[in-house]
């Protein structure tokens, strides 16, 4: 049976309605109901991605060209750096992640999206919150805590907006269709419930009922690592567990393993925060606990990696044709690499060298971009056509997007990890003046600008392509936008 042929057949007409047809209709209805909120989240996210990319280029350039715009207060490096990160995290990451999560929730609850206005309001307020936060930071309102720089009014707006999204999610879940709750939904439920607790705790413990002294730093990094793992990581892993099986048409290899992976992931990654403060002014047990937790995260990482590999076995060639699969598998592999690097830099002997170097920055990019962002790109390539009813117009643009992002982030991470190591070695050698360490990493930082140019190209291409879809200029051909044209007319190759 030729699957592609089957799907392009004309239906038999309304007289004979099969279960399969009904399911198709349902699925189309569900997809259609998610269109407006998800496209709003996606569109906003892409706009923030471009903002972040622009500031990203500027920050990399200013590292070796410090006098560029040096007299302008709102362009000083110490202000545009947090704007770059926070627009990436809260603008791009959170909104794209929420967009995908919304679509997945609707699909997995097997019910059309209810109360879209709640989500649209959530998106609007989130955008306002991010904008206010970024403008605040540029204007000189940084709180002093990484990833939590936004001033209070902005944080409050974000939190309120999130509560709208969470409420929607819980209502959807309440009205879900009976049946087993798929693994993706565990990850999404986790993410949706963990985030507000995480964000509220951080805001309260740092600003409202502040903890004393260095505990603020502990809370800061507990928040940051948990955001990376339990919010972005969960959404990313959950998405991959849906996309990979769905695209290749094979169920997850071992669901039991997936369940173990989920629980061990939640348990261990939530304790890793202090690996950012190794040998800092803290009780030793806190730091040791985080290092141990980092090492233990190898367990869930191994289960996820094994599962995806076994699911994909014999189907790797499909990556040639499916954009979603390419991005998602890249992301899944990056997740494994990200975890391994995380363990390595947490070991005390290594931490001694790289603790204050750019290596940790590279590691964060691995998690946030190489893993999470690439998986989300993949999900967007799958979801957007199902929302607008058209296919992506240019396979070449998809390919360009993929390779520019892959090489861009690969180069960034490599330069920062290696450069950071070199910098750390120099820092650790007290016979060398301090200046040596920064000089030693400068060549790598110059290279990093090149990598960001690649990423800029990639994001502009994707934004343009998405814009085409948004405006209804997608392809209406019945043949899907495979990345490499099918060899025969009957559409045989998969």
């Amino acid at each position: 049976m030729n699957p592609t042929g089957q799907i392009t057949e004309e239906p038999l007409g309304d007289i004979e309605v099969t279960t399969s047809d009904v399911e198709r209709v349902e699925r189309a209805l569900i997809d259609a109901s998610t269109r407006l909120p998800v496209m709003i989240f996606y569109g906003s996210a892409i706009a923030w991605l471009l903002v972040s990319t622009f500031f990203g280029i500027l920050t990399t350039i200013k590292l070796f060209w410090p006098d560029l715009f040096s007299n302008v207060a709102f362009l000083t490096w110490g202000r545009i750096q947090p704007v770059h990160w926070d627009s990436l995290i809260y603008g791009w990451g959170c909104m794209a992640g929420m967009g995908t999560a919304i679509w997945l929730m609707a699909r997995l609850c097997r019910t059309t999206l209810r109360h879209p206005l709640v989500l649209i309001a959530g998106a609007a307020f989130w955008n306002v919150g991010v904008l206010m936060g970024l403008l605040g930071v540029l204007g000189g309102a940084n709180t002093g805590y990484e990833w939590l720089e936004f001033p209070g009014f902005s944080a409050l707006t974000l939190f309120f907006s999130y509560l709208l999204v969470l409420t929607w999610g819980l209502v959807m879940f309440r009205y879900r269709r009976r049946g087993h709750i798929y693994i993706t939904q565990w990850y999404l439920l986790g993410a949706f419930l963990w985030f507000p607790w995480l964000y509220a705790s951080a805001q309260v413990m740092l600003f409202i009922l502040p903890v004393e002294g260095v505990m603020k730093a502990a809370v800061n990094w507990w928040f940051a690592n948990n955001l990376l793992f339990l919010w972005f990581g969960s959404i990313g892993l959950g998405t991959a567990y849906y996309m990979i099986p769905k695209v290749i048409g094979r169920p997850v290899h071992s669901y039991y393993l997936a369940a173990i992976g989920f629980w061990s992931f939640a348990l261990f990654s939530s304790w890793t925060g202090m690996m950012r403060l190794i040998d800092g002014p803290f009780p030793a047990w806190m730091i040791t606990a985080s290092i141990a937790a980092m090492i233990l995260t190898i367990i869930p990482v191994a289960t996820v990696g094994l599962n995806h590999h076994m699911t994909m076995r014999d189907h790797f060639p499909l990556m040639r044709y499916s954009p979603t699969l390419r991005f998602t598998v890249f992301g899944a592999i990056a997740y494994t690499a990200f975890s391994i690097v995380g363990v390595i830099i947490s070991l005390r002997s290594m931490a001694r060298i790289v603790s204050f170097s750019e290596a940790t920055v590279g590691w964060t990019y691995m998690g946030l971009y190489a893993f999470f962002t690439m998986v989300i790109f993949g999900s967007m390539y799958y979801i957007v056509p199902r929302l607008v009813g058209r296919e992506w117009r240019y396979a070449s643009l998809i390919k360009l997007h993929f390779w520019a992002s892959a090489y861009g982030i690969g180069l960034t991470v490599l330069l920062l990890l290696v450069g950071g190591f070199v910098q750390g070695l120099s820092l650790n050698d007290a016979t060398l003046p301090f200046a040596e360490s920064t000089q030693s990493i400068l060549p790598y930082l110059r290279g990093r600008t090149l990598a960001w140019i690649l990423l800029t190209v990639s994001h502009l291409v994707f934004a343009f392509h998405f814009g085409l879809m948004l405006l209804g200029f997608g392809r209406t051909a019945s043949v899907p936008t495979f990345l490499n044209p099918l060899e025969s007319k009957s559409g045989g190759a998969h």
Binding site: T18, R24, E26, L113, G179
Partner: protein, 64 residues
């Protein structure tokens, strides 16, 4: 008996893995595909309506 229960439970897990498939998008068929032409017209018609309409009840099977 206990061991058999555990085995049954673990075996049951693999059924959970199949919930995202159904007769329309079954196991064995890749789905990174566009909606076929017939679905597109349905899509446009439905998109104009209130999205809060609940779908028809299906006679059987699970889908997501």
């Amino acid at each position: 008996m206990r061991l058999a229960e555990i085995f049954a439970k673990v075996k049951g897990y693999d059924e959970h893995a199949a919930v995202i498939f159904d007769r329309d998008e079954p196991i064995g068929r890749p789905t990174d595909l566009v909606l076929p032409p017939s679905r597109r017209s349905l899509f446009r018609r439905r998109a104009a309506k209130d999205s809060a309409n609940s779908p028809n009840d299906a006679p059987s099977g699970t889908r997501s």
